[in-house]
Symmetry: C2
Subunit: 230 residues, 2 copies
């Protein structure tokens, strides 16, 4: 088939920002590069898109190949291609995806193309290869924006949780500390939480009441949106 | 310089969804294609990215070349590349941008690569070439989302406006009719509007009070965000 565009072409890559939540911290999944450029440096999982491969499929393939992680809900973040020198080899445009997953659901294992793969605390992440610091920064900003406009926690918390666990989740994602009374008042006012007739088991401190999400209210609020004012 | 990726590559394009508001309608800027594929069909302005050209610059260049329109605030919308057959010629990945502009600020003129360029009412837009119907749909959804989370109108309304004009703007962008009393109550509660000691001039109906945006409150609300519940 004749090509529609007869001039030199940029190379196309995908990169994945996978956040993992583990009740304490927000982590990010990184790989250590095993070839130049930036050999030995940490980077986001990703790689070149095959000419016949859908973009999101390429992102899933690279993620699995490099880290063993699969079955995450990827959302497209942004396409990085304004800085034509972002890859020292040649012009490379990269479509970035991001996801927020429960850390305990995803064991990592380095595979092809990567020397090593590991979860890092976002706050302690090393300086990354290429423009990946910028990509990570944008993903964090997007995540925080999402937290303010959409209910979260359904997949990240256990089915029954305490209000303290829920507050810790919000505080971790927003990297901010929240006033306890205010937080509870707002969350309860959303009509999202169902108070259970159960309390925590086997805890050293005073056992707290357990809650779960009202699935219907949760889905409804996902559609309508909200505004969580800090 | 040796290429880092030695395999066939997708072609890369940019497409622009430019919305224009004219106090009555929401319009979209389209061009008529002057060559195959889809010769004669209407499409979004756009075209191939040069290998050394930043993405957003390519979008601005194509927009100007095909329609004469320039100086709009482009935001990246989404990169279309999951359907590998979206262009019948070969694999083409397209980075889409969108903008909302005041119609009267932008005269269109068809130029290179386009037979014709014109503003269409969004509601009456013809069926478009490629997957551009989908691109337009996504831009509309994004625009409506934005309206609910960010103050709008600063660039779209005259410096002094009536509450009716402001309501019409929201109704047009949201494609919904809003309850007058409720709308006014909410808007005034945001602290965004400054009531002026002036009324409309030269109108046949009873002259209404004029308002303007409080610039500081407007910028502050842009940062903090809001939630405009319909």
């Amino acid at each position: 088939m004749p090509h529609s565009y007869r001039y030199p072409r940029a190379a196309l890559t995908v990169d994945c920002v996978i956040f993992g939540y583990d009740t304490e911290d927000l982590k990010v999944l990184l790989i250590q590069r095993d070839s130049p450029p930036f050999e030995g440096r940490w980077a986001l999982p990703g790689g070149f898109v095959d000419v016949g491969e859908p973009l999101e499929e390429a992102a899933r393939r690279e993620l699995k190949e490099e880290t063993g992680v699969e079955k995450v809900y990827l959302e497209q973040l942004y396409t990085f291609g304004d800085d034509v020198k972002r890859d020292p080899r040649e012009r490379v445009v990269s479509v970035a995806y991001y996801a927020l997953a429960k850390l305990s659901d995803h064991r990592v294992q380095a595979a092809t193309d990567a020397r090593n793969a590991a979860w890092f605390q976002v706050a302690d992440a090393p300086s990354l290869a290429f423009d990946h610091d910028q990509v990570l920064e944008m993903a964090l900003t997007r995540l925080k924006g999402k937290v303010r406009y959409q209910p979260i926690g359904f997949e990240l918390l256990p089915p029954k949780f305490t209000l303290t666990q829920l507050q810790r989740l919000y505080e971790t994602l927003l990297e901010a500390s929240l006033d306890k009374r205010n937080f509870r008042k707002k969350l309860l006012a959303m009509g999202l939480l169902e108070e259970l007739d159960e309390i925590e088991q086997d805890v050293a401190h005073r056992a707290a009441r357990l809650y779960r999400f009202d699935k219907r209210a949760y889905r409804d609020l996902q559609k309508r949106g909200l505004h969580f004012e800090l």
